[in-house]
């Protein structure tokens, strides 16, 4: 959900900052708001210092947007190894691969930033020249994957001139390895789905990216990675304007998607030789191509029964999109049967609980989904609403309220990776996948345990034996 930076920065704060944050404050409302924003979003000030961000903005000046975006479209895997990636052998007490049974006494071999082998220590022969890490009392697990984050870069997540904004993309805002991402790594998170806010019904295109250091080209997994749609709540307008209610909001979403669908069809027809005249390029609609080709999903800020129903009907049934129920909270679990019919993954958060009036008691939302046999199930933080590093804690809460612990480990790794359609790269410890490995003192679901070391793309990016502990 967009709300944190967006609603704060854009609407609430501008209106009320002076009143809220500086009683009897000096200066104008706008100044106060600015002051607040710069404290709340510490990375904003770093934009100037960040070389890759600067390089990116130069690139903006020199290249045309189109060329850049086409480049990204045609080569989704931008990662180019520049530094020599070391060969590693990591020995641990237990490996949670997140596919199949855990391995007691396991070893992971890494080379060229990828996992070369995973298995029992006794079965794996470490070739010469491998740097060895010994964590005999620790667990290894895949890096955590966050399905709904707003902390990947500067806080300008919402531009709200139009009701739908498919012309916007957020990889121009990324600040690699910013302070919040550093903390995220200390919480074991190695991949995030960095998305625009929900200030409007269609916030724009999000990026699937790693949390570690590096150039933009090193850390981006997929851009565009997802489309962000918000079907209710934050994007609601003032009374009387189109979009002040769910009728209007769903109209503008459908209107935009149908326009885009026609555009993509025109291009598909042209590419397939069914039409001769090349259609005019429309920057506003260009990224809908991978969306309608079902190569990337739409992550939908949808919650509560009624809105999730619209999500299923409009985005899945009518538009035939790959849909992820993101930020799915409240009583949406009552729709599980319908969701399962359509094979749609569900990510729950940040609010994990719902008071069920019919039965007069609190319910854990994830547990309720699980009880109804949902398997493609995970949690998300909506950082910074919940701090990014507390993704594990969203799962811990869900377990406290009745979810199965094994499912919870999957729900912060492979399930969000599958939902975001990047499970060929991240989400489990398997041969050929990115070497994003988290070493913990025990099950990450237990808050008493902590992260000891993190590898991203085969490089150690956090090691509590060397670095000061961050979380």
């Amino acid at each position: 959900m967009i709300t944190a930076p967006v609603a704060q920065a854009a609407t609430m704060i501008l209106k009320r900052a002076a009143k809220w944050f500086v009683p009897g404050g000096r200066g104008s409302c706008r100044t106060q708001a600015k002051r607040f924003i710069s404290f709340a979003l510490p990375f904003e000030s770093q934009a100037d210092r960040c070389p890759s961000a600067a390089r990116l903005s130069n690139a903006w000046v020199h290249c045309s947007l189109v060329a850049f975006s086409l480049l990204l479209l045609t080569s989704p895997q931008l990662a180019v190894a520049e530094d020599a990636k070391p060969k590693l052998a990591i020995h641990v007490g237990k490996v949670l691969t997140c596919v199949g049974e855990p391995i007691i006494g396991g070893t992971i071999l890494v080379s060229e930033g990828k996992i070369e082998a995973v298995g029992k220590t006794k079965d794996i022969k470490v070739p010469e020249g491998y740097q060895e890490f010994h964590h005999p009392d620790a667990f290894a697990m895949p890096g955590l994957v966050e399905a709904h984050a707003h902390v990947g870069g500067s806080g300008d997540l919402n531009e709200m001139v139009y009701q739908t904004n498919p012309e916007l993309r957020n990889w121009d805002q990324i600040i690699p390895h910013n302070d919040q991402l550093k903390n995220a790594i200390a919480g074991g998170i190695t991949t995030i789905c960095f998305i625009p806010g929900s200030g409007t019904n269609m916030g724009g295109w999000g990026t699937l990216m790693k949390t570690g250091p590096g150039k933009l080209s090193d850390i981006i997994i997929k851009a565009p990675g997802v489309l962000k749609i918000a079907q209710a709540g934050n994007p609601e307008r003032q009374d009387g304007e189109l979009g002040s209610g769910r009728g209007g909001m769903n109209y503008v979403i459908r209107q935009q998607l149908i326009e885009a669908q026609l555009y993509v069809r025109q291009w598909d027809d042209f590419k397939a030789g069914r039409t001769k005249a090349e259609p005019p390029m429309n920057l506003r609609l260009e990224y809908f191509k991978p969306l309608f080709h079902r190569e990337i999903p739409v992550v939908v800020h949808t919650q509560i029964y009624q809105v999730v129903q619209s999500t299923l009907r409009i985005l899945h049934d009518e538009m035939n999109l790959k849909v992820v129920i993101d930020h799915g909270t409240f009583d949406s679990y009552k729709l599980t049967e319908e969701i399962l019919k359509r094979d749609i993954p569900i990510m729950v958060g940040p609010r994990g609980f719902y008071f069920d009036r019919d039965h007069g008691q609190m319910r854990g939302i994830v547990a309720e989904y699980a009880n109804r046999n949902a398997k493609a199930l995970g949690v998300n933080t909506d950082s910074p609403v919940v701090p990014q590093e507390e993704l594990f804690f969203q799962a811990a809460m869900a377990v406290r309220y009745g979810w199965n612990e094994e499912a919870a480990v999957r729900g912060v790794t492979i399930e969000p990776a599958k939902a975001l359609m990047i499970d060929h790269r991240v989400g489990s410890l398997e041969k050929g996948k990115d070497a994003d490995i988290v070493i913990t003192t025990g099950s990450i679901i237990d808050p008493r345990n902590h992260v000891k070391q993190v590898f991203i793309d085969g490089k150690s990016v956090y090691d509590t034996q060397i670095d000061r502990r961050r979380f």
């Binding site: 709300t3 609430m12 009036r357």
Partner: protein, 494 residues
């Protein structure tokens, strides 16, 4: 247990009758027979008892009589007629002590001022739903602020379900309503909080470390209550366990001067009072000296209660330590974000700390290694021997705290203390005996020992495991909470 009680009841009366008869006035046997037994015996049998102050007892029995613990051990025999609670397979711990519950709906009359003449007892509502919420997370004793409060989410729910659902059923973008919610959230969580408008969660940004602004030297009043749901008797334990001062009241030269002056006046008054008593004792008449300060300040000077004050930066902490050493009173620091930077100074001065391991404050620019909060503070304080009690992220007791990031849980904070490197023993003590000592109630609460109040939890696992639930909470020897019946928390079989 209730079902067991009924058939046992008659038998119990008979037992008592038999026992008590010789001591009774034999001329009035009929009256004695009518009189219900004043002391019922409760036996908690077979649990794995974590006493906190002594050894752990596996498969032990606890006997409770008259609200007090009368026996603990493996060889304790259950007397005939005792009401038995089966604790086999359960972990048994003392109830948790929350030293810093700002508001939990004490004053039912509303209003925001802490009228110094108000009688606390008159404001207590033993049926307040917030009490059940507190018991659900193990709190049996709480030091609460003497003013109206709680965010009201749970309290108003007694008659018409939990209003939280009305508010957050879906979205309520109505701005006026949001303003009110935000105001409540800010009151509960601090001025930097805003409320997520789509999910209703409080957004708690990392707080900047700033010097405390000056404020008038106002005293706040707190009281200690037992969470004896449904029973007013024994609910109020005591008033003013601390002298609470607003954080800004001692910052700046003028603030510190007026504080020194107050203490000097109090000391002089105590001397005058002693002299006056001598004069009176010798039979002469004399006007008593005028009391220049509040009773709490006098008790502070007599070292009966500590000063409790928030201090977060190293500089603010040092100021407080310096004043406490110079003026000779006991000091409990709350907040204490940067206490890990100067643990030796705290240990040397005997200063105690109340803090929240999950709270994070950003370091100052350029001082990343020596400012802000640090997860390893628990380890450092334990190693240095600084006693610390834990308090939750939100000091308001309400459903809002449970539904969001679990802002109200004490055991969760203890789990984070373990994450930071403290031992499980110290972390559990930080919920029980350490805060009990801070409140001056270590003879009554904070551990399972003979003679102490029977405030006991039956848990379905290790108290510091986040998956663990309080199944039954006993307060003053009486069952005050049963998870399966109260249902303020999800009920499911593991």
């Amino acid at each position: 247990m209730k079902t067991k009680t009924a058939p046992l009841f008659g038998f119990l009366i008979a037992c008592f009758h038999a026992l008590a008869l010789p001591a009774q006035d034999t001329a009035k046997p009929s009256e004695a027979a009518k009189k219900p037994p004043t002391k019922e015996i409760l036996a908690i049998v077979g649990g794995d008892i974590i006493t906190v102050t002594r050894e752990r007892i596996r498969g032990g029995t606890i006997l409770v009589e008259g609200g007090k613990i009368t026996a603990v051990g493996q060889d304790v025999k259950v007397p005939e007629g005792a009401t038995t609670i089966d604790a086999i397979g359960k972990t048994v711990t003392p109830g948790f002590v929350a030293v810093d519950v700002g508001r939990m709906g004490l004053a039912t009359g509303g209003g925001s001022s802490s009228d110094r003449n108000a009688k606390v007892f008159d404001t207590l509502d033993p049926f307040d739903r917030n009490i059940s919420l507190g018991l659900g997370i193990g709190i049996t004793t709480a030091c609460v602020e003497m003013r109206s409060g709680g965010s009201g989410f749970a309290r108003r729910g007694v008659s018409d379900g939990f209003p939280i659902t009305e508010r957050f059923l879906g979205f309520d973008p109505d701005l006026e309503e949001n303003d009110a919610i935000v105001e409540t959230a800010q009151r509960d969580y601090g001025p930097f909080v805003s409320l997520c408008k789509c999910c209703g969660l409080p957004i708690i940004p990392t707080e900047p470390i700033e010097n405390t602004p000056e404020a008038p030297a106002t005293q706040q009043k707190s009281v200690v209550i037992k969470m004896s749901y449904g029973k007013l008797d024994g609910m109020l334990v005591g008033e003013s366990a601390f002298l609470d001062m607003t954080p800004g009241s001692m910052s700046g030269a003028l603030g510190q001067y007026s504080w020194r002056e107050q203490i000097a006046k109090a000391k002089k008054y105590l001397l005058d009072q002693a002299a006056h008593e001598k004069v009176i004792a010798s039979g002469k008449k004399e006007q008593p000296p005028r009391k220049p300060v509040s009773d709490e300040v006098l008790r502070l000077v007599k070292r009966e209660i500590p000063l409790r004050i928030a201090a977060n930066t190293v500089s603010d902490i040092r100021d407080q330590i310096q004043l406490s050493k110079e003026l000779g009173y006991k000091l409990v620091l709350t907040g204490a974000a940067e206490a890990w930077v100067i643990p030796d100074e705290l240990a040397e001065a005997g200063t105690e700390v109340v803090y929240t391991p999950r709270r994070r404050r950003a370091p100052r620019f350029g001082e990343e290694q020596s400012s802000g909060t640090w997860i390893e503070m628990s380890r450092i304080l334990e190693k240095t021997g600084v006693p610390f009690a834990l308090t939750a992220l939100s000091n308001a007791m309400s459903l809002d705290g449970i539904a969001g990031r679990d802002l109200s849980s004490l055991p969760l904070e203890a789990a984070f203390a373990v994450r930071g490197g403290a031992s499980e023993k110290t972390a559990l003590a930080a919920l029980t005996i350490t805060p009990a000592k801070m409140l001056g109630l270590e003879k009554r609460i904070g551990s399972i020992e003979v003679g102490k109040d029977a405030d006991i939890l039956l848990l379905d696992g290790n108290p510091l495991d986040y998956r663990t639930y309080v199944e039954t909470a006993i307060v003053n020897g009486r069952v005050a909470y049963k998870r399966a019946e109260v249902r303020v928390l999800p009920v499911y079989s593991k």
